[in-house]
Symmetry: C2
DNA sequence: GTCTATACATAGATAGAC
DNA sequence: GTCTATCTATGTATAGAC
């Protein structure tokens, strides 16, 4: 709006977003945020009603970042390859997931507004997985008796669980191991045992294709 | 040791164990624990040096509970069935995992003693999964090019991620969906497409069978 | 808009009576 | 062994100067 575009406000949101990721909501104090943002007491309570309102803004920012890191698939190319690429995308195991982390904070889960942000984010992410699974089934790359919603939840869970394992061991290794195990299992389940290259003819019944129903 | 066997001490550990599960370490205050245990200030600091020492004891108790809920497999019967049974065991999705929950608490992860307890627990759990996978491969129920350690991490991750999804949505459903998706994928990957009943002859190379190397 | 000063509750632990 | 004060530091927010 103004010329300087409320620099302190942005700094506070960025700082809170990082601290939410690193320590969670309950363990982050207003003082921590102001210190990290390099602003005084007054700025926080001028721009926000308090810690809660600032955290809501910061949580939305973290969700936006997570979304951008795992965007809606383009849909050209074989879907199974898209699934594998998505699984193998680099992820900072020991730092944890910006969004999934929030689910362990009782203060977040008890708050409808904050929980809603997290819940919607997972709905969106799972929907992206589900469309990829549906496409892979339609392209004949996965057995057609697989339930797309279930497998989408499984794929989301592998990622989220990978973060938990990596934090428990203080190492990136379990995250990488878990996603590679999932890739191997998908390939084992694939009806096309070892497709060398080239696209696949969508030779199976084109039934359940719902390309856009993000969120709920 | 004594006759009354330190009732307050046990009550404190039980109360702390529940609160660690429900709220985590950082968000649980000594007062909360004493109140839940129904004891006064003095008891806690008589039996323990402070919150940290009590939490360590309580964390060990939670690990023991989690272990007992998912015991070392017996090893008779088809391993793939054991894997599926273990996946489908009832789990309180919205409450989260007593052990995995700890990994999101920076205070826990930064503390070598507490992190060690959690880390060892995951090592043990993953080792149980790994032996089941190895057995299933040997019995010819899963393709022998699967990496047992990787798939074990995947299985652990599905459980831990299921908890995260269930807490995000405030519903048991995603946990159940995720594990069912994993079961379906395992069946799709199974080299025995639909074995009606009866045991399986272990007709494949009996090579890599390491029955006992719990922990590290 | 941003700062410093202040206020009040809670976290975590200690002191000392019984 | 267990209790009730008590203590210091921090969390969270307000007041008011600039």
């Amino acid at each position: 709006m103004t010329e300087t575009v409320q620099d302190s406000r942005h700094r506070l949101i960025e700082a809170m977003a990082d601290l939410l990721w690193e320590r969670g909501y309950a363990a982050t104090s207003p003082r921590d945020v102001m210190s990290a943002a390099g602003v005084g007491q007054g700025s926080l309570y001028h721009h926000f009603s308090g810690k809660h309102e600032l955290a809501v803004e910061a949580m939305r920012a973290n969700v936006a970042t997570a979304m951008a890191d795992n965007p809606e698939p383009t849909g050209d190319g074989p879907a199974l390859v898209d699934i594998e690429d998505r699984l193998l995308r680099p992820r900072p195991g020991t730092r944890g997931c910006r969004v999934g982390r929030m689910t362990q904070d009782p203060k977040v889960v008890e708050d409808p507004e904050m929980l809603g942000i997290v819940s919607d984010a997972f709905d969106t992410m799972t929907a992206r997985w589900r469309r990829l699974v549906t496409a892979a089934v339609q392209q004949g790359e996965l057995p057609d008796d697989l339930d797309a919603q279930q497998l989408a939840d499984t794929l989301s869970a592998v990622i989220q669980g990978g973060y938990v394992l990596s934090r428990a061991r203080g190492s990136q290794e379990p995250m990488d191991s878990a996603v590679h195990g999932m890739v191997a299992l998908l390939q084992a389940a694939s009806t096309h045992q070892a497709r060398p290259d080239g696209p696949v003819a969508p030779d199976i019944h084109p039934q359940d294709i719902h390309p856009h129903e993000e969120q709920s």
